[in-house]
């Protein structure tokens, strides 16, 4: 029986080893939150909605590349080329984000604390933001307002709503956002002033409504238009939202046009501007090395993108007349004189020789070297080098290729609101001098601009007004000019061309750049740059012998994803595809 002790040993070992636990197989996550425990407090809402901010857009300005304002060194815009492939997925990830927002909107009313309203408003704002992206690309869209399960029949029964309903839906989300969000002046905490405000939602509303109104007006009667279009409804909505901002929110234009985009206040410090409604800050320290791309982008600025001659020519002369009429216009055959007697915004938008180009950390200044050589020796396409957005004093040490400054991306500024207001009022036929004075003339009287005011009723007829394919009244022509100049490079131009049905400005065009005279040829020793018969650079002369092949019966919208139509044959394709 002495063996019993060995047996006992084995039994004890067995018992220790197995430690019979009834819930042995119940293993729940330990480093992640489970949803059933969520949606209790305003803080839950805040943390959730914080994650949606990342979608807003990043640090890269593409300077209107892919429109008639600017060209990159490659002729990238397959849409302008008419070469979008039918297999393109135009909607991309938008519904992924919409699902995320819908999860919040479906659950957020479980939180009744009024402190949650700000975040609820942000959720509506983000849903509007993503649907607006879809609207711009494919027009009519499927509206989903709740997170569906993968086996939900609604995934197949939800068809494309007409574009005006989509716009209505976006505007109604924005109205909800406006009613819930705090104003910018109420977002006083350090952690709050980069949050979306009621102000931003109003500005967004004016942008969306103007977009849809003008789209429906200029595409009316075509396959791209809306049935029974009621565009004045949208123009009114755009004008009202803008007017509300103008009257009630205390925005003013900053004195210096050039510095609106080059703020680099440290994070934690509010951006000192009366003009910026909503902007995102980047901070090289907080983003540490992996997020330093903003600096790298600035180092290679402007990344091979140059402005077009057509954009440069649209700037008025200081006498308020277009260059075709003004006696003070100096020809554009020299970069040295191109900004003479011109709207000062031009000089704040492109570099001219001899200007400060960059300052190193050791204080050494470099002057703008050369119209045709970029900072890394690369070509600059058109010869007109963008200066807008460029921060030239931020190199940390000489020779470094990683820059370490902070900068901002402006999403909404007061200038756009003024332009939205002016255009909507003009489209409604209600634009009078007092409207001009609170909008366009504010822009012209900015301290650093000082251009003569626009006088309604005495607008000089410019023979160079763009050929839109139709003839807007002179007032609207000038409002569109003002918009092009003021907002150049801020990625409005292509959208504007689309809503204005301005295919004529693209199809068959082959844009030009700066004058490439014999003096320049000597300086650069490069005689082989492609140029037109008048010696203006024409970068794509050889590639695009017939110009851009934008197809006005098709390319105003991207193809609706064909994979979606395969899965659900009840979905319709866009015109021409």
């Amino acid at each position: 029986m002495k063996n019993l002790r060995y047996l006992a040993l084995v039994l004890i070992m067995t018992g220790l080893a197995f430690g019979c636990n009834k819930n042995f197989l119940d293993r729940v996550p330990q480093d992640q939150i489970s949803e059933p425990a969520y949606w209790k407090t305003p803080n839950d809402l805040q943390l959730y909605v914080n994650n949606l901010y990342g979608r807003l857009g990043n640090y890269t300005y593409t300077m209107d590349e892919g429109s008639d304002n600017a060209l990159s060194s490659t002729y990238r815009s397959s849409r302008m080329l008419g070469q979008v492939l039918t297999t393109t997925d135009a909607i991309g990830d938008e519904y992924t984000y919409i699902r995320q927002v819908n999860i919040m909107i479906t659950n957020m009313d479980k939180v009744t604390d009024l402190d949650g309203n700000q975040y609820k408003g942000e959720a509506y704002y983000f849903r509007a933001f993503h649907y607006f992206n879809i609207l711009k690309d494919v027009g009519a869209a499927q509206i989903i307002t709740e997170p569906l399960n993968a086996d939900d029949k609604k995934l197949y029964s939800t068809l494309r709503s007409p574009r005006d309903s989509v716009a209505d839906f976006i505007l109604s989300d924005l109205d909800k956002a406006i009613s819930l969000l705090k104003t910018k002046s109420e977002l006083t905490k350090t952690s709050e002033y980069q949050r979306i405000s009621k102000d931003a939602a109003l500005a967004f509303k004016s942008r969306v409504a103007l977009y849809e109104g003008s789209w429906e007006k200029y595409h009316n009667g075509t396959p791209f238009g809306a049935a029974n279009a009621d565009y004045d409804k949208f123009f009114t909505s755009a004008a009202d939202a803008a007017k509300n901002l103008i009257d009630n929110f205390g925005y003013r234009l900053d004195d210096d046009y050039g510095s609106v985009f080059t703020h680099h206040e440290l994070s934690g410090t509010p951006i000192v501007s009366k003009e910026i409604i909503f902007a995102r800050q980047f901070d090289h320290v907080k983003y540490n090395a992996t997020w330093a791309t903003s600096g790298e982008q600035m180092n290679t600025w402007p990344n091979g993108i140059g402005l077009t001659r057509s954009a440069i020519r649209s700037y008025l002369c200081t006498d308020g007349l277009p260059i075709s009429l003004s006696p003070s216009y100096v020809s554009d055959t020299s970069l040295n004189t191109i900004t003479q007697n011109r709207d000062p915004r031009l000089a704040m938008t492109i570099f001219t020789p001899g200007e400060l180009w960059r300052v190193s950390g050791t204080g050494d200044s470099t002057m703008f070297p050369d119209a045709f050589i970029g900072p890394n020796g690369g070509p600059l396409t058109t010869g007109y080098v963008a200066r807008k957005f460029f921060i030239n004093d931020a190199f940390e040490t000489a020779g470094q290729n990683r820059l370490t400054w902070d900068h901002i991306t402006v999403y909404f500024r007061y200038a756009e609101v003024l332009l939205n207001y002016a255009e909507a009022k003009a489209e409604l036929g209600q634009f009078n001098q007092s409207d001009a004075d609170i909008s366009i003339n504010q822009l012209r009287s900015r301290a650093s601009v000082h251009m003569p005011p626009l006088t309604v009723g005495s607008i000089a007829l410019d023979p160079d007004w763009p050929d839109w394919g139709y003839s807007p009244e002179p007032l609207l022509q000038e409002i569109r000019r003002e918009r092009r100049i003021e907002l150049i490079g801020e990625e409005f131009r292509f959208d504007d061309l689309m809503r204005w049905a301005a295919a004529r400005l693209i199809t068959g065009q082959n844009y030009r750049g700066a004058y490439y005279g014999s003096v320049m040829q000597q300086i650069h020793g490069q005689a082989d740059k492609p140029r037109d018969e008048d010696n203006y650079l024409q970068p794509f002369k050889d590639f695009l012998s017939d110009g851009y092949q934008f197809d006005s019966t098709r390319d105003y919208l991207l193809p609706f994803p064909i994979d979606e139509i395969t899965i659900n044959p009840n979905l319709t394709q866009n015109p021409g595809w």
Binding site: N3, L4, Y6, L7, V10, T14, F18, F24, L25, R27, P29, Q30, Q32, E35, Y38, D44, L47, Y48, N50, N51, Y53, G54, T74, Y75, R76, S78, L81, Q83, L85, T86, Y95, I98, R99, Q100, I103, Q142, I144, A150, L155, T190, S191, Q194, L266, S267, V285, K286, Y287, N288, A289, W291, N376, G377, G399, Q400, R402, T404, K529, D542, I567, N568
Partner: protein, 1138 residues
Amino acid sequence: MLLIMRLTAIFLLVGCMTASATAYSQKITLKARNISLERVFREFKRQSGYSFVYRDNWIREAARVDLNLENASITNALDACFRDQPLTYAIVDKTVVITLKQPPVPSGKIDIPSLPQIVVRGTVKDQNGHPLAGVTISLKGTQTATATDEKGNYTISLPDNRGSLVYSYIGYDKMEKSVAAGSEINVVLSSNISTLNELVTVGYGVQKKVDVTGAVSQISGEEIANRPVSNLEQALQGAIPGLNFLASNNTGEPGGSYSVNIRGLASLSNSKGNASYSTGQPYILVDGVPMDLNDVDPNNIASISVLKDAASSAIYGARAAYGVILITTKNGKNTAGLKVSYSYNYAMAQPTKFIPSVDALTYALAIDSAAANAGASTMPYTSDVIERIKQYMKDPEHAPSVYPNASGTGWDFDAVGYGANANTDWYDALFRKNAIRQTHNINISGSDGNTSYALSAGLFHEDGVSRFSNDEYSRKTLNGQINVHPLTWLKAALITKYVGTHSRNPNVLIVNRLAPTLPLHNPLGGYFLNSNIPQTMAQTATSDAAKWILSPSISIKPTRNWVTTVQYNYTYTNSTGAIANGTSYEIEPDSTRKGTNQNGTNYSSSMIRTIYQSPTLTSSYHRQVGSHYFGALIGFQEELETVFGLNGKNTYLLTDNVPSISTAVGVASVDDSKSHWATQSVFGRLNYNYKDKYLLEANVRRDGSSRFAKGSRWGTFPSLSLGYNIAKEAFFPFKDKISMMKFRFSWGSIGNQNVANYLYAPVMSTGQTTYLLGSERSYGVNAPSETTIGLTWEKVNTKDLGLDMYVFNNKLSITADWYQSDNTALIGPGVVVPEIYGGTVPKANNGTLRTTGWEVQINWRQSPGRGFSYFANFNLSDYKSVVTSYNNPLKLLSTFYEGETIGEIWGYKTDGLFQSVDEVDKRGIDQTLFYKGAWAPGDLKYRDLDGDGVITQGQKKADDHGDMTVIGNNTPRYHFGLYAGASYKGFDLSFRIQGVAKWDQWPGAGGQSSFWGPTAGPGLGAVVLKGQQDFWRYDNKDAFWPRPYRVANSNPRINMNKGTSDRYLQNRAYMRLKALQIGYSLPASLTQKIQASQLRLYFSGDNLITRTKYMFFDPEVGGYDNHYPLQKVYSFGLNVTF
């Protein structure tokens, strides 16, 4: 579960009470009736300590005996046993050797006993020169016999010098020698591994090969030892049919690993579109402990057994769905006394293949013509630079390789090296030909009375072949095993293992994507940033892992038929990693430094601790009743793994020399990760056989996994296998030639829980966003994951038909298997739903995959005598997987569809290249799917299969695919291996050839792919390898490559000629001399001087010769992108045993 515990306890108790402890004695007491000899011998052994050597079939066929022994001597006892048997015995030391009695001398003669006339002496050794003890030596046709002693020596007295001596020993071929040969006859017996008594390691035990009914392959450690390889995977490649190893881009790195699968058994996991196919990882047990193949020292292995079909692996359940690999390390159980062996290997490695690049001038001209084709107005290489290139190539000593740019602040070349004018062969510059590897292994084992032990230590160190990344890998292993047998009914064992690995990983070098015009060296010192060399040198990425394993076990054996074992496995793994990115720069012509300053430096560190605990209780019983053998096993197992990780990072290192989080002063961040999973299982097995002729085995296992929600957590998985050894039948006509001919059939089902933890819980991950709120990047909570609903065990049902044969006195053995595995209830991505769903469709049990395959293994082994012996083992295997059902009613090609052969490549047939503008104009087939602009001579003609005049993809469905068709398959088919060798006197030679006979690859259209040469577009993709200058030009119209266009990646032209096409499909089939070994064992007369029993010197090489049609790169890696090359290795080594 509680119930089982109680039952176990009860029969443990019962078992113990019937046992009794007895110490050894020289006297034997045994009273029994009708007892089998086998039992008798075991009892004798238990009482006396004598060992018995015999052939199983003799003993099994022998008559049962009645014994009445009381304190009998061993000889008396044995005499009593053998009285009426056709057997006799000899005693050598404490070993009893049993042999057949010879037929009595015919009665007509008068047998006059005569005095011995002559005495013959000699030594018997094995092929390796080890003396063999206990070899029976008999005079043919007489009862005169003796046996060798411990040193292999024998002496036999014979009546005269007529007749011949027969040398026989279990496990070795019999040998005959004429007595006339002399008074000293030394004999070398060659072992016959494939004898009938060969033991095979199977789940929770060992089985005789004749009794195995599942598909099991086993090889011995010898077959893979002494290879200059960094891990076991490399050594096993090609050794076992159905055990497949596939290389990846990182396999060539120091310590790099292969992906392993058994029979291609697969699961559908992540993504084809949003779904993908991945072969499953087999379950690997080393001495019963789950480990990685890479953690095992290849030189410390006794045997490796691969359980391939469900029936043989089913006993391991939950984690064995993709097969099981059982590894037994060397232990001291079969070593008498002390044995010490040491082996050493010194190796030099170089890339298997040096990728040939064209010279700088050819390169520049090719790039320029690609630019011209794209309509570029300025050439990447201006005539000036081309002139400089010519100068440099003519006189590299004196011509500058690079010039400063106009402003003098930088060098005159772009990101890839355009503009510079050197002539650099980058592959040659970045890789070296003499990376050193060293292997040491020492093994001490032995047994002494009731204890056996083994201690081994291994050390492996490998330098990488990358010249600049200073990469290395080392592994230290320590193994200790001690088995004690203090009482006849009690055994205890402790296995301890330590594996420590250290690696310094290479940065990703831009291999082969740099222009040859970029100089290697900066004329002002150092290297250029473009080459990535400074960044590589500035980075230190190390990872260290230490694994400690403790595995104690206790067995009690109350009767000789019943064993109960409790084993507890505890594995503690601690892995740490650190990456330091220091400053890196190049010197500009104005002597400034460009690059990363301190601000760009950073350091990150991570720690992961994994604890795995698993107790296993098994109890087995077996009994032979007459000709019926019964065996039963029941067991219970639990597993729990907990993982805890901690990661930290900081930026701005104060100094590169001491990188750490503490010496950095930027923004620090830290996060952790925790997870755990558990399983619980009960299992049982029944074995039955009748005279080793009819065999049956049945298993059942019930598994629960924490990875599934309550309610779908448990699964039951049965299996059954049958065997029939027809050679045992009386009517079998070829008994003299075929000693075994066994048909096997098995069917089994296993569960697979190989999914992520917590899929059923809607978790919301947290993290820092990229958006600043206030002064900090804000924190955010992600949307809850889409949860699985009712996700449960994936089932693998496998049928296997097999045949095992031993022919020609076991010289030839053949094993063949055919199998079919159905993975049902596959865990895969959910059905494709409209984009408006917006989420990741949760995983679901969604479809069935059928894998059908076969494998053949043929082994030949012979020792014709005169010290010569040779062997050849050939294996061939193949499989193919077809999706038999999948939730994809539209049969979209974007995910799996019913009828799809896994690995199929959809693409276009082609009709060559356009040869003239006229042909482009007249062909009349719309190719705008690829490019909407004008096509030109030299562009690819896609074939209009459906004849509608337009190249389309249809609706991208299996039954509406336009002009797409299946042009190939990327599953490797027909894996083969040949392992052969010979030995003569002290010399031995062996080699292994391994390959794949059919394998397609689409190189991809990516602009970064080196495959396309100048066609790849600008930037890093633009390389020109030898052969790639054969692109279409008016003066080279029958070119292989299309007209190259140097355009940006987003340019619509970039992929116009790169649509997936049969023209550029690659053939990855290859045959490779994987290993070659030539050795020489010093004669005993020399080795004895250093008191060694054996000393062998050898040369061993790896990957020496390769035959393939694969273009440019190594077919095994198959990379046209950044990859680390596999290596060709030459090595020398020695093995010494004391």
